[in-house]
């Protein structure tokens, strides 16, 4: 009886704490959510975005880890693996075996690309979950933070309208952040220093394009112009011709599917975390963080395994009299 009472009290206490955190540490308003990455600073007109910064951080970390992990191996020692090397070998071997199970013959040709996709996406996803990645930033005006600065050149021209603009802006974005207003009265927003590259369409589109072109490259390299026979197949009746055209379309749809699958999952995860932190800052975001760790891994894995599967399909000989190609729709 008293045991049950204790449990009830603990649960009530935790719930009370969670709800209380809304008042103790709660935000007044959800910070602005931007689909596009924000520019932290510009180098000669080149926009250095927060997602680009995290990309570089992931690069440095990955190459650094790889460098440290294989130092002994590159010196011709270390046949008995230890510590970090052991872990690196396990990961690489695991991915290698996975790729080999998909296409035994050509695994060495596409392995580097597949594994790099996996490691890069995984690191960029997980690094973005570290504390401070979305919250530490610099204050910029809206125009400065825009990736495609449509009005950047016009800004000086706009400045005479300053009198009307600040009032409008402050009304619109009353509690945008702790940055306040700059000298000219423009509303300042907090631009986080780091943003997950996967929540930036530039990166996901880049990976999708690489995946697409690599797939087509292998296809053409293996079969020459005969590779096109898979798509323009008019010798086997109208059904096969239609299937070929569908394959051609799906080949290009893959780019969009790749792009938005990764972007959507990671971006949505960030929004969910933000909303949960806004609703009840304590404890509530925790399970979602765990879930985002899982999503970050699974998306990296999916991107890699689909690329491998598509490359393997492109390298499969096309049977003129065979059955219709199995074509899993990416989901």
């Amino acid at each position: 009886m008293s045991n049950t009472l204790k449990k009830v009290l603990i649960v009530l206490g935790v719930v009370g704490l969670m709800v209380g955190s809304r008042f103790i540490a709660g935000m007044d308003e959800i910070p602005p959510i931007s689909i596009a990455p924000e520019v932290v600073f510009r180098v000669a007109g080149y926009p250095v975005t927060n997602s680009l910064l995290l990309t570089l951080l992931a690069d440095v970390l990955l190459v650094g880890l790889a460098f440290v992990a294989t130092r002994k191996l590159r010196n011709g020692e270390g046949l008995v693996p230890r510590g970090l090397q052991n872990f690196a070998e396990m990961s690489v071997e695991g991915i290698y075996n996975l790729c080999r199970s998909v296409d035994r013959r050509n695994v060495d040709r596409f392995f580097a690309i597949a594994a790099t996709i996996f490691f890069f996406v995984l690191f960029s996803n997980w690094l973005a979950l570290l504390p401070g990645m979305g919250s530490i930033g610099v204050c910029r005006t809206h125009e400065q933070a825009l990736v495609n600065p449509v009005h950047l050149e016009e800004q000086p021209v706009e400045s005479p309208l300053e009198g009307a603009a600040p009032g409008e802006h402050t009304a619109e974005e009353h509690a945008a952040g702790p940055c306040g207003v700059d000298d000219e009265g423009h509303e300042l927003v907090l631009v986080p220093l780091f943003r997950s590259p996967s929540a930036d369409l530039n990166m996901t589109l880049a990976l999708a394009l690489i995946s697409f072109f690599v797939t087509e490259y292998f296809g053409f390299k293996a079969f020459g112009l005969g590779y096109l026979g898979k798509f323009f197949n008019f010798k086997e009746g109208p059904i096969m011709a239609g299937v070929g055209i569908l394959e051609l379309i799906s080949e290009f749809v893959r780019i969009i599917a790749f792009t938005f699958r990764l972007f959507g999952n990671i971006f949505a995860g960030e929004v969910v975390l933000l909303v949960m932190a806004f609703l009840l800052p304590w404890l509530l975001p925790l399970p979602f963080y765990g879930f985002e760790v899982f999503v970050g891994f699974i998306q990296a894995f999916i991107f890699m395994i689909l690329t491998v599967a598509f490359i393997a399909m492109a390298l499969t000989p096309h049977h003129p009299h065979g059955e219709v190609h199995e074509h899993p729709t990416p989901s």
């Binding site: 931007s34 689909i35 596009a36 990455p37 080149y46 926009p47 975005t49 680009l52 990309t55 570089l56 690069d59 990955l62 190459v63 790889a66 460098f67 992990a69 294989t70 191996l73 590159r74 270390g78 046949l79 693996p81 690196a88 070998e89 690489v92 071997e93 290698y96 392995f111 580097a112 690309i113 594994a115 790099t116 490691f119 890069f120 990736v147 495609n148 449509v150 590259p197 930036d200 369409l201 530039n202 990166m203 589109l205 880049a206 990976l207 394009l209 690489i210």
Partner: protein, 164 residues
């Protein structure tokens, strides 16, 4: 496109970045590790083969050893058998020889005995004859009767013959 934040410069940067990253990781991660894995596989295979070889050698050595042992045992047995046989033959020889010698000795002894007896007999006969003659002469001197004389001689000779 622009509202989504897609920017050609950033897109190209990301593509170049990926290419560079792939190259660096290939150089520093995949290549060394895959080489090491292959090398390790090779070494393990080699050592397994070596172990197999050593095992075979050991087996061969043991077989050799067993064969030699069996050979030695067989030889020993044959030597023992030969020795036994020889001993038996020798024993028989010895026994036969002993028996022969005994027989010879017996025969010799018997012959000598016979000779001695003959000698004795001869001596005895002559002695008896002598004795008889002397006795006879003594008797004759006292009472000489030719008939009695003759009779006495015959009796004596008969007695001698019976004794013989």
């Amino acid at each position: 496109m622009e509202n989504l934040g897609i920017n050609v410069q950033l897109l190209i940067s990301q593509i170049i970045n990926f290419g560079l990253l792939a190259f660096l990781l290939y150089k520093f991660l995949y290549n060394p590790i895959l080489n090491a894995l292959n090398e390790r596989t090779r070494r393990i295979q080699e050592s397994i083969e070596n172990a197999e070889q050593v095992k075979q050698q050991l087996q061969r050595a043991r077989q050799d050893y067993d064969a030699q042992l069996a050979e030695a045992r067989r030889e020993a047995q044959s030597i023992i058998a030969q020795a036994t046989e020889r001993a038996k033959a020798q024993e028989q020889e010895l026994v036969a020889e002993a028996r022969e010698r005994v027989a010879r000795m017996e025969a010799e002894a018997r012959e000598r005995l016979e000779q001695e007896r003959q000698q004795l007999l001869r001596n005895l006969q002559s002695e008896i004859a002598d004795l008889v003659t002397r006795t006879a002469s003594v008797v004759v001197r006292q009472q000489l009767d030719p008939k009695v004389h003759q009779k006495l001689i015959e009796e004596s000779i008969q007695q001698l013959g019976r004794m013989n």
